[in-house]
C-alpha cells in the first residue's frame, strides 16, 4: 500500500493527462507539464517564462484576461479558449487561484479538449472562412467607419489592398482616409463616400489613382451598411483592379490608331481576304484609288477578278491560287491592270501575305494594291524615248552613209566626164556627150543636196507646226493643176474624187507635199504602154476617221521584192527608172507627223494604191 505522504505533489502535476500549468501574477508561465508543451507544439523546457497570452489566438486574450483576473481574485473560472500555435484548437480552460499560505500567489490552470464543436462554435466557422476569403481574393476589400463630420477611417482592409496599392496594412488600419489616399483622388473619394452615406445607395465608378505601387485603375464599388436604426456608420468598398486589362486595351487602341493612320498615309488599297469563307474586306484606299463605290464593303474574290483586265485576269488569278494553295508560300505578288470606275485601266502592283494554320492551310491574306500607273507610264515613255533615240541614231548613221554615197555618185561621174573632156578632141561625139553628161551629173548633185536639206528640215520638225481642218479636195486639185505640164507630157490624167466636205485636221503644206510626191511618183513610174490615170478617193467614217486612197495604173512594183519598208529614205525599188528614194520618205514623214498612217499595195504592171488613214 502506498502511503499518501510518500507521493510528491509534482508527480501528479507532471503525469496529469491534461495540460496543467501555473502562472504567476503577471500571467507568465511558471511551470507547465508535457501535454501543455505538446499542445503548443514546442519543447517543454521552453515553455516556462513565456506569456500565457501569447499562447492564445489574438481574439481570445480579452476573455482570458478576465478569467485570469477572477482567479487572482480567488474564484475558479471555466472558459472556452482557442489556443494559438501550430494547431489551433479550442479547449476548455479551468483557471483557479494558487493559494500558498492563504495568499493568492498566482493562477493554476487545466486545459481540456472540448470534443466536437458546439453549435456556437459552428457559428464562428463562416467568420474564419470569410477571413480566408478576404485575404486571398484578388479584389481589394475594405471597410470604412463613418465618423462625425463626414470623416472616414479604415477599420478593415485585406491583403489585396496592400498588394494593389503598395501601402502596408499597419498604415491603413485605424487611419483616416486623408492619411492613406493621395490627392487628387482623395477629394473625389470623400465626395463619393459622403454621397453613399447620404443616399444609402451603392456607388460605382471607374477610378484611376497613383499609389506607391503605381497607377492603379479599377472598378470601385462602395456599399453603405445601413443599421437597424436607419443610420449608416460603415461603408464597404470593393475594388476590382483592371489596370492590366486596361493597359492592354489601351495598347491595342494605340496600335489600332497607328494602323489607321498608317493606312490613311498610304495611298494603297489595303485588303483582307478571308480565304475559307471567301470574303474580301477593302480598306479606304480602294475607293480612293479606283473610284468604285462598294455597295457593301465585304465582297469576294470574284468581284476583284472581274475588275482585272481580260488579258491579265487569267494569269493573275491562276498565280494567286497557286500561291495560296502551296502550303509554304507566304507571299504573293502580281502586276496587272485593274479597271477604275471611269473604265480606264490602272496598272497595279499587288503584294499580299498569306496567313496559314499549323497544317499550312490558308486562312487569310492581307495585302495592298499599289497604283503604279504613273510609274509605269513614265517607264513606258522612257522606253519609247530610248527606242526613238536609238532608232534616230541608227537612222542618222544610215543617213550619213547613204548621203555620202548619193552625193559621191554624181560627183564621181562629174569627175569622170571632166577627165574625158580633157582627153578627147573638141569635135568628137565623146566630147559632146561628156559635156552633156557633166551637166547632168552636176544637176543630179544639186538635186541630192537639195534633198538632203529637205530631209533634214523634216527630221528637225517632228511636230506639226500648225493644225487646222484642211479641205483635201482643194489641195488635191491645186497640186494637180501645178503638175499640168508634166501630166500633158505624159498623157496622164488625175481624177480627184474626194468628197467636197472631207476635211482632215492637219497641216496644209504637208498635204500639199503628200499629194505632190504621190502624183510625181505616179508620173515617174507610169507604164509606157498606156496613158496614166490617177484616181484620188476619200471617205470619212464617224468615229473611225478618214481614209484617202491614191491609185494609179502605172508599172507597179513587186511588193515582196521591194522589202519591208518602201517608205524608207533613199529606198529605191523600181528597176532602171531613176528615183532618188526620197518622195515616199517625205510622204510617210508628213502623214505620221499628223498622226496618220500610210500603207501601199502594188502589183507589177497593174498599178499602185496608197492608202492614207487619219483617225
Amino acid at each position: 500500500m502506498l502511503p499518501s505522504d510518500r507521493i510528491p505533489a509534482h508527480v501528479f502535476f507532471e503525469q496529469h493527462p491534461d495540460a496543467v500549468f501555473t502562472l504567476n501574477a503577471a500571467g507568465e508561465i511558471v511551470r507547465a507539464n508535457g501535454p501543455f508543451a505538446e499542445l503548443l507544439g514546442c519543447p517543454a523546457a521552453q515553455v516556462a517564462g513565456r506569456s500565457f497570452w501569447a499562447c492564445l489566438q489574438p481574439g481570445e486574450r480579452e476573455r482570458a484576461g478576465q478569467g485570469f483576473e477572477q482567479a487572482l481574485a480567488g474564484e475558479t473560472c471555466v472558459l472556452d479558449l482557442a489556443l494559438g500555435g501550430a494547431v489551433s484548437r479550442r479547449m476548455t480552460c479551468t483557471l483557479f487561484p494558487l493559494l500558498i499560505n492563504e495568499q493568492v500567489q498566482g493562477v493554476q490552470g487545466i486545459l481540456q479538449d472540448v470534443g466536437p464543436p458546439s453549435q456556437a462554435e459552428k457559428g464562428r466557422e463562416p467568420e474564419h472562412m470569410l477571413s480566408v476569403i478576404f485575404n486571398t481574393i484578388a479584389d481589394v476589400v475594405f471597410v470604412l467607419e463613418v465618423g462625425e463630420a463626414g470623416s472616414f477611417r479604415f477599420s478593415f482592409a485585406n491583403r489585396a489592398f496592400t498588394q494593389t496599392t503598395g501601402i502596408p496594412l499597419e498604415q491603413i488600419l485605424g487611419k483616416r482616409i486623408e492619411e492613406v489616399i493621395p490627392e487628387p483622388s482623395l477629394s473625389m473619394y470623400q465626395e463619393k463616400y459622403r454621397l453613399a452615406v447620404a443616399t444609402q445607395q451603392r456607388l460605382g465608378w471607374l477610378d484611376t489613382t497613383v499609389f506607391p505601387a503605381g497607377r492603379v485603375t479599377g472598378q470601385v464599388s462602395i456599399t453603405p451598411v445601413v443599421e437597424a436604426d436607419g443610420s449608416c456608420r460603415q461603408l464597404v468598398g470593393i475594388v476590382h483592379d483592371q489596370t492590366s486589362v486596361l493597359q492592354a486595351a489601351e495598347a491595342l487602341t494605340v496600335s489600332n490608331e497607328r494602323y489607321k493612320y498608317a493606312i490613311r498615309a498610304t495611298t494603297d488599297a489595303i485588303y483582307d481576304w478571308n480565304i475559307p469563307e471567301n470574303t474580301l474586306f477593302w480598306g479606304e484606299g480602294f475607293e480612293a484609288l479606283f473610284g468604285h463605290m462598294l455597295v457593301q464593303n465585304v465582297s469576294n474574290l470574284d468581284l476583284w477578278a472581274e475588275f482585272i483586265h481580260p488579258d491579265d485576269s487569267q494569269q493573275t488569278v491562276y498565280s494567286l491560287m497557286q500561291a495560296v494553295e502551296a502550303p509554304h508560300v507566304r507571299y504573293w505578288q502580281g502586276e496587272y491592270r485593274f479597271r477604275r470606275a471611269d473604265n480606264t485601266w490602272a496598272t497595279v502592283f499587288d503584294r499580299g501575305y498569306v496567313l496559314r494554320d499549323a497544317a499550312g492551310q490558308p486562312l487569310r491574306m492581307i495585302g495592298a494594291m499599289q497604283d503604279i500607273s504613273e510609274r509605269k507610264e513614265a517607264e513606258e515613255r522612257q522606253r519609247r524615248m530610248a527606242q526613238e533615240v536609238f532608232k534616230q541614231n541608227a537612222d542618222l548613221q544610215q543617213f550619213a552613209y547613204i548621203v555620202s554615197h548619193n552625193l559621191r555618185a554624181p560627183l564621181a561621174n562629174a569627175l569622170g566626164f571632166a577627165d574625158l573632156l580633157l582627153r578627147t578632141g573638141k569635135d568628137t561625139e565623146v566630147f559632146d556627150n561628156s559635156l552633156k553628161n557633166l551637166h547632168a551629173s552636176l544637176r543630179e548633185l544639186d538635186a541630192v543636196l537639195s534633198d538632203v536639206s529637205t530631209v533634214l528640215a523634216v527630221r528637225d520638225r517632228q511636230e506639226v507646226p500648225q493644225r487646222e481642218p484642211v479641205h483635201l479636195a482643194g489641195v488635191c486639185q491645186r497640186v494637180a493643176q501645178s503638175l499640168i505640164d508634166s501630166l500633158r507630157e505624159a498623157d496622164a490624167t488625175i481624177s480627184c474624187q474626194l468628197p467636197d466636205d472631207l476635211q482632215v485636221c492637219g497641216n496644209r503644206a504637208y498635204f500639199h507635199s503628200i499629194f505632190y510626191n504621190l502624183f510625181s511618183n505616179a508620173i515617174k513610174f507610169r507604164a509606157d504602154d498606156r496613158p496614166l490615170s490617177v484616181v484620188v478617193t476619200g471617205m470619212q467614217t464617224p468615229g473611225q476617221g478618214s481614209t484617202i486612197t491614191v491609185s494609179d495604173n502605172g508599172s507597179g512594183f513587186d511588193t515582196a521584192r521591194a522589202g519591208t519598208d518602201v517608205f524608207q529614205l533613199y529606198k529605191r525599188f523600181h528597176p532602171v527608172k531613176r528615183g532618188r528614194g526620197i518622195g515616199l520618205f517625205l510622204v510617210k514623214s508628213h502623214v505620221e507627223a499628223m498622226g496618220g498612217t500610210v500603207t501601199v499595195e502594188s502589183q507589177v504592171n497593174v498599178g499602185t494604191r496608197f492608202i492614207l488613214h487619219f483617225s
Binding site: Y401, S404, H405, R408, A409, P410, L411, A412, N413, L415, G416, F417, D419, L420, R423, T424, V430, N433, S434, N437, A440, S441, E444, R561, A562, R572, F573, H574, P575, V576, G579
Partner: protein
C-alpha cells in the same frame, strides 16, 4: 585584147562613162552593160566557155538586187568562176566598211572608187596578164 567584160550599174551616166574609158584605154571591145543585177546574173549563169566574162565591174548601190546580193547569189557557183571571172567592185562609196566587206568575197579581185581612171584600168590589165602567164 580579146576580153569579155560585164558592167553592172543602174546609173546609166556612170555606165556610159566607164564604158567610154574602157574603150579609150583599149581595155576591151566586148562590153555588156546591165542596169539590173538580176539580168547580169542570168546572163552569167547561162554563159558557157568563152561567154563567161573575165572581168565584171559591179556597182554596190542598186535597187532590187544590190551588189552584195549579186555576190551572195553567185556563191554556189564560186568553184566554176574562180580564176576565170574577176569581179571588181566599182562604187562611189568611200566607206571603209564596204572595203572590209569586199575582202570577204573570194570572187572579188578588188574595189575601185568611181570614177575609174586610166591607171586603174592598166593595173587590172597587167594583173590579168600576170595571171595568164
Amino acid at each position: 585584147m580579146r576580153m569579155k567584160t560585164f558592167l553592172i550599174d543602174d546609173d546609166d551616166l556612170g555606165n556610159y562613162l566607164t564604158e567610154t574609158l574602157l574603150r579609150l584605154e583599149g581595155f576591151c571591145d566586148d562590153i555588156l552593160t546591165f542596169q539590173l543585177a538580176e539580168d547580169a546574173l542570168q546572163a552569167l549563169l547561162q554563159a558557157r566557155g568563152s561567154e563567161i566574162p573575165q572581168i565584171i565591174f559591179l556597182d554596190l548601190n542598186m535597187p532590187l538586187m544590190n551588189g552584195w546580193q549579186f555576190l551572195e547569189a553567185l556563191a554556189p557557183y564560186q568553184g566554176q568562176l574562180l580564176g576565170r571571172c574577176h569581179i571588181y567592185i566599182l562604187t562611189s562609196s568611200l566607206a571603209l566598211t564596204d572595203m572590209e566587206k569586199a575582202k570577204t568575197y573570194d570572187l572579188v579581185a578588188g574595189l575601185i572608187h568611181k570614177p575609174i581612171d586610166s591607171d586603174e584600168i592598166r593595173a587590172i590589165r597587167s594583173h590579168l596578164e600576170e595571171q595568164k602567164a
